[in-house]
C-alpha cells in the first residue's frame, strides 16, 4: 500500500519554483533516501510531506486519504514525525523533551513515564533522563530528538540530514538506531541526506532530485549501479559541478 501519493504538487517562493512533482508514490514500511545537490528541493519535499508547508498546487494523499489543510490536518500530522538537521531541545529535562509529543496528545503521566523510558532506552539515553536537554552534545541531542520522535511510534519517520555535522561514531550510532527501529516497528522512513554512502547503507529506494524535480526514483542498488538518467550518473560519480 502507498503511504504517500503526490499528484501535480508544486511550491513556489516568489518567482522561483522550488518543487515540482508531477507524480510520486511512496510505499509503506520502506526506507527512502532523497539525494540531490543543495537547493534541489529535498527539504521542501520533506516539509510538505510533514504538513509543515502547504503546496501551492496539487494533491497529496496519505494512507489513501487526501490531506485536507484544515482541521483534519492534525489527524494525519500526528501519524508522522520529523527529526531536523539541527534539533532544538526545549528548555527542560531530556525526559520532558521526549514526553512532549505524548503531553500534547493528552497521554496520562503514568502511561507516558513507561513509554518515554522505553524510547530513551532504545536510543541509549536513559542515564541522562533528568539532564537539562539544552546542555547535551550534538550527538546526544540528535539521539534525544530521535527518541522524541520514536516515542510517538509514527507511521512515517522523516529525517532531514540527521547525521550532518556528527562524528563517525555518532553517525554509526544514529544509523543503527534507525535500522533497528525499522526492523522492529516497520515505520516508513524518508531520509534526506548528502551522504551517498549513508543512502547506500540505509535505503531500499532512492529519489534523486535536481532543480525542484525528481529526476530518478528506483531501488538503491539500481540507482547506484545502473542509473537511467545521465544527470543521476553525473551526480553520483561526483562529476557534476553545482
Amino acid at each position: 500500500m502507498n503511504i504517500f501519493e503526490l499528484s501535480e504538487v508544486s511550491k513556489t517562493y516568489g518567482n522561483r519554483t522550488v518543487l515540482q512533482v508531477p507524480r510520486l508514490q511512496m510505499e509503506e514500511q520502506k526506507i527512502y533516501a532523497i539525494l540531490g545537490p543543495n537547493g534541489a528541493g529535498k527539504t521542501t519535499l520533506l516539509r510538505i510531506l510533514n504538513l509543515l508547508e502547504t503546496p501551492d498546487k496539487g494533491r497529496i494523499s496519505f494512507q489513501g486519504g487526501e490531506i485536507e489543510y484544515g482541521r483534519r490536518r492534525l489527524e494525519a500530522a500526528r501519524q508522522m514525525c520529523m527529526v531536523f538537521q539541527k534539533p532544538v531541545m526545549f528548555r527542560s529535562s531530556v525526559f520532558a523533551n521526549v514526553a512532549y509529543g505524548l503531553k500534547v496528545r493528552n497521554v496520562g503521566r503514568k502511561k507516558s513515564e513507561a513509554i518515554v523510558r522505553e524510547a530513551l532506552e532504545f536510543v541509549g539515553m536513559n542515564h541522562l533522563a533528568d539532564h537539562p536537554a539544552h546542555h547535551l552534545s550534538g550527538g546526544e541531542a540528535q539521539r534525544v530528538a530521535l527518541a522524541r520522535a520514536l516515542v510517538l511510534k509514527p507511521r512515517v519517520l522523516l529525517l532531514d540530514e540527521p547525521t550532518a555535522n556528527l562524528d563517525p561514531s555518532s553517525v554509526q550510532h544514529i544509523e543503527e538506531i534507525i535500522r533497528r527501529w525499522h526492523r522492529e516497528y516497520g515505520s516508513t522512513i524518508i531520509l534526506v541526506t548528502h551522504n551517498l554512502f549513508q543512502a547506500k547503507r540505509m535505503a531500499q529506494e532512492c529519489l534523486i532530485m535536481m532543480d525542484g524535480r525528481i529526476i530518478e526514483k528506483g531501488a538503491t542498488e539500481q540507482i547506484f549501479s545502473q542509473p537511467r538518467e545521465a544527470l543521476t550518473s553525473q551526480f553520483l560519480n561526483g562529476s557534476m559541478v553545482y
Binding site: 520529523m82 531536523f84 526545549f90 528548555r91 512532549y100 522524541r148
Partner: protein
C-alpha cells in the same frame, strides 16, 4: 542618619507611600503583562501585511515621553474629556492607567522580539511532534520565558521610576495619591534634600528586591 531619623518620625506616611507605590506600579505591570504578553506573542508569531508598520509604531511608543502619556490620560479623564464621567482623575486608578500606557508598548515590543527569535524552529518542532497550533504557540511562549520575564521587569522599572505622568494624573495628594517618586519631587522642591535622598534610597532598595526575585527565576530557567 539624620534623614533616616526624620523619615522614622513620619513612618506611617512612609509606609503608606511605599504601599501605594508598589500597588500602583504592581497593578500597572500586572495589567500590562496580561494585555502585552499575548499581544507581543501574537506580533512575534504571526505574519501579516503591515506587520513592519505595527512593529515600528510599537517601538516608537516604547519611548513615549511620560508627560505626553500623562497629558493623554489627563485629557481623556478630565471633566470635559470623553471619559470624564468616570470621575477618576487625580486617583490611583488614573495613575495606573497612565503607567499602563507607558508599560504596555515596552512589554509588547520586547516580548515580540523575544518570541520572534525563537519562533521558527521551536514552532516547527512542536508542530512536527503533533502539537496543535495553539499548543505550539504556548510552547514558543514558554521557551521565550526568559525574554518575557526580562520584558516584564523592564516594564516594572519604567513604571516604578516614573514621575511625570503620575504627577499629572494623580495630583500627588497626601494620603491618597502620593507615591515615592512624587514625594521625592515634593521634598526636593521644599528643600528637604535629606528626606528626598532617603526616599530615593528606599526606591532603589525596593527595585533591587524586585529585580533580585525576578533574576533568580531567570537564572533558574537558564
Amino acid at each position: 542618619m539624620e534623614e533616616i531619623g526624620a523619615l522614622w518620625l513620619q513612618r506611617n506616611d512612609i509606609w503608606e507611600i511605599i504601599r501605594l507605590s508598589v500597588f500602583v506600579s504592581g497593578s500597572a505591570v500586572l495589567i500590562s503583562s496580561l494585555l502585552g504578553i499575548p499581544a507581543g506573542a501574537w506580533l512575534g508569531l504571526t505574519r501579516f501585511a503591515g506587520k513592519a508598520l505595527v512593529l515600528r509604531i510599537t517601538i516608537t511608543l516604547m519611548a513615549l515621553p511620560p508627560v505626553l502619556a500623562g497629558l493623554i490620560v489627563y485629557l481623556l479623564l478630565s471633566h470635559s474629556g470623553p471619559l470624564g464621567s468616570w470621575e477618576i482623575l487625580f486617583t490611583p486608578t488614573a495613575m495606573i492607567i497612565a503607567q499602563c500606557l507607558l508599560v504596555i508598548p515596552i512589554i509588547v515590543g520586547l516580548c515580540a522580539a523575544a518570541i520572534a527569535g525563537k519562533e521558527n524552529s521551536i514552532h516547527e518542532h512542536a508542530l512536527s511532534l503533533g502539537a496543535t497550533r495553539a499548543q505550539a504557540m504556548r510552547t514558543v511562549i514558554g521557551e521565550a520565558r526568559t525574554g518575557i520575564l526580562a520584558a516584564v521587569m523592564t516594564g516594572f522599572g519604567r513604571a516604578f521610576a516614573e514621575v511625570g505622568a503620575v504627577m499629572m494624573v494623580g495630583g500627588n495628594i497626601k494620603h491618597f495619591s502620593r507615591v515615592l517618586t512624587t514625594s521625592i519631587v515634593l521634598e526636593t522642591r521644599q528643600g528637604n534634600f535629606d528626606i528626598a535622598i532617603a526616599l530615593g534610597v528606599i526606591l532603589l532598595i525596593l527595585s533591587f528586591i524586585v529585580s533580585s526575585i525576578a533574576l533568580s527565576s531567570i537564572q533558574e530557567s537558564i
